[in-house]
Amino acid sequence: MSTTDITKGESKETTSGKELVSIFVMGKKYEVPKNLTIMKAMEYAGYKYIRGCGCRGGICGACGTVYRKPGDYHIYVGLACQTVVEDGMYLTQLPFFPANRATYNLEAIGSDPEEVYKKYPELFRCVACNACTKVCPMDISVMDYISAIKQGDFEKATELSFDCIQCGLCTVRCMGEMSQYHIAQMVRRITGSKIKPESSHLKTMVDNIKTGRYTRTITDIKSMSEDQLRKAYQAREMEPSEAPEDWKPADNTYL
C-alpha cells in the first residue's frame, strides 16, 4: 500500500511518504500514517465501513469512538471521522449502543413535564456523577440538561442539548441507565411544537414540501440507475468548507 487514496470526496490528501504511528484497533496493532482521522486510519488498515459511518463530516453521530492513551487512565472519546490518530492510541468504535426509546404520539401529549417523566422515569436515577458530560464529543453539558428536564425547564434543556448528534456515548456511560439523548429529543420536540411560538419560515417550507415543490428531486434520484447515481454523486458540487455567506451552487435546478 504505497499510495492509497482513501480520502475520496473529502480533502485530497494522500498517504504516501507520511510518518507512521501505531494504533491499536480492538487490541490489534496497526501502523498508520499520522494526521489521518481514526476513520481513515481504519480504512487504511483494511477495515471496510458498512455501518458506523455516515456523514464523515462530524454531525451524524454514527462513528462514536472510545480510546485511551498510553499511561493515562482517562477514557477519551471522539468521532472517528473527526479525531486524528495519536501514537499508542487504543481504540474501538461504538457505532451502536442499545438505548431505551419511548413511544409516544406527539400530537396527543401536552407540554407538561410529567409527559416526559412518565415515559422516562429513569430520569430520576441521575446521581450527578457527570460521566455523561465528560464523555460527550460535542462538549454538551449533558448532566445540566438532564437537571433542567428534572426542573421542568424544557427551554433550557433544549438550548443545552441542541448540538446533540445522538452518538449515544452518554448513554454508554450512564450509571442511572438512562438514554439521555432520546429523553432530550422528546423534550426538544415538546419545546419546538408546544412551547416555542411557531416559526413562519418553517411553515412556508412545510407548505412548499406539501405542494410538491421538491418532489421532482426525489423522483429524479429514484429513477436513476446505479451507474447514473454513482456518477451524479461523484460529480456533485459541494459547498467549500470556507464558503462565503452568499455562496450558491452553479446548478440550482433542485432548489
Binding site: P113, F124, C126, V127, A128, C129, N130, T133, K134, M143, D144, I146, S147, K150, Q151, G152, D153, M175
Partner: protein, 294 residues
C-alpha cells in the same frame, strides 16, 4: 440584599406553590432570592449507608456552584433539600477521608471543603430579616386563623443539622404569631408524615396521615402549615384517602409557610398558585377574607 437560593426540582414543578410565594414574599421584605444559575437535583434523601459516597456527589456539586458564584451562603426553602444539602455539607467539612475521595472523583470541579453555610428559609427569616421587621411589613394579618405548625422530620432531625433544638422548637410558632395568626401547638407536630411509605405501603401511610390530622383537629386547628413538599403531598393531596377511611376526620387545609407569608404581606393569591394545593385551601382563605383585604 441578594442571596443565593436553591429551589430544588419539586419546587420548580409540583410545588411551584411553595417556590413562587417564597420568592415574592422575600422580595417584599427587601431580599432577592437569586436562584443558582446552574444546579442539579440534590438527591432528595441523604443516604445513610456509610460507604455510599455516590449519592453525595449531587449535593456537593450544588454547594460547589455556590462557591463558583463567589458566595458562601445558600438559602433553601424545601426541607428535604435543606436536610440533604446540610448533611452533605457537614460531611465534607468534618470527614477528611471521604472529602478527599469525593474531591478526587470530581476532578472536573474545584475542591470543596464545606465552605458554604446552608440555611433554611425559616432560619433566614428569623436571623437575617427578623420577626420585628416582618411584623412591620404585614399588610393582611391572619387574625383568627388557627394554624398547626407541622415540622415533619427533616427540619429537626438529625440534631447536627436541625434548624433549632428538636425539643424546644419555636421558629414556626414565632412565624405564625408574627403573621397575626394563632398557634395550635399539637403533639404530632414533629411526627413523620410516612414519607415515601405512601407509595410503597399506602395503607400504613394513610393511617399515619390520619393520626396527624386527627391530632391537629382535636387541638382546634383550622389549617396546617408545612415546609416540605412531601409532607404537603401526604397531608394535603392524599388527605381525601384519609377522610374516606375515617368518618370523624374533617378536611384540614394544608399550606406552605411561604403561601401564608405572601398572603400576610398582602401579595394576594396571584403569587400563591393555590390551584396546586388540595381542595379547601382557597375557600378557607376567602372565608377569612384574607384575599379581598389586600
Amino acid at each position: 440584599m441578594k442571596i443565593s437560593y436553591y429551589p430544588g426540582c419539586t419546587l420548580k414543578t409540583k410545588a411551584k406553590n411553595m417556590d413562587c410565594p417564597g420568592v415574592a414574599a422575600l422580595n417584599a421584605l427587601g431580599v432577592e432570592l437569586v436562584e443558582l444559575p446552574r444546579w442539579n437535583c440534590c438527591g432528595a434523601v441523604f443516604s445513610l449507608a456509610d460507604d455510599d459516597l455516590l449519592h453525595l456527589l449531587a449535593p456537593v456539586r450544588d454547594l460547589i456552584r455556590v462557591v463558583e458564584q463567589g458566595d458562601n451562603k445558600l438559602v433553601v426553602a424545601c426541607s428535604m433539600c435543606y436536610n440533604t444539602l446540610a448533611r452533605a455539607n457537614l460531611l465534607m467539612r468534618e470527614n477528611s477521608e471521604k472529602r478527599h475521595t469525593i474531591n478526587t472523583f470530581m476532578e472536573e470541579e474545584r475542591d470543596y471543603n464545606g465552605e458554604v453555610e446552608v440555611v433554611h428559609l425559616l432560619s433566614f427569616l428569623r436571623d437575617e430579616i427578623g420577626w420585628e421587621k416582618i411584623r412591620e411589613s404585614i399588610k393582611v394579618p391572619l387574625r383568627g386563623l388557627k394554624i398547626a405548625p407541622y415540622y415533619g422530620c427533616t427540619l429537626l432531625r438529625p440534631q447536627s443539622v436541625a434548624i433549632e433544638p428538636p425539643e424546644k422548637h419555636t421558629l414556626f410558632k414565632d412565624l405564625i404569631e408574627t403573621m397575626g395568626a394563632t398557634v395550635v401547638d399539637f403533639p404530632a407536630s414533629t411526627d413523620c408524615c410516612s414519607s415515601y411509605q405512601i407509595l410503597s405501603n399506602p395503607d400504613v401511610g394513610i393511617e399515619t396521615v390520619s393520626k396527624i390530622l386527627e391530632s391537629a383537629e382535636s387541638w382546634g386547628a383550622e389549617a396546617i402549615v408545612t415546609s416540605c413538599p412531601l409532607c404537603e403531598y401526604n397531608l394535603g393531596k392524599r388527605q381525601e384517602d384519609a377522610l374516606r377511611k375515617h368518618d370523624k376526620l374533617k378536611a384540614l387545609p394544608t399550606f406552605y409557610f411561604t403561601q401564608l407569608l405572601a398572603i400576610a404581606l398582602g401579595l394576594g393569591a396571584e403569587v400563591c398558585n393555590f390551584e396546586l394545593n388540595h381542595n379547601g385551601v382557597i375557600r378557607l382563605m376567602e372565608s377569612k377574607k384574607f384575599l379581598t383585604a389586600a
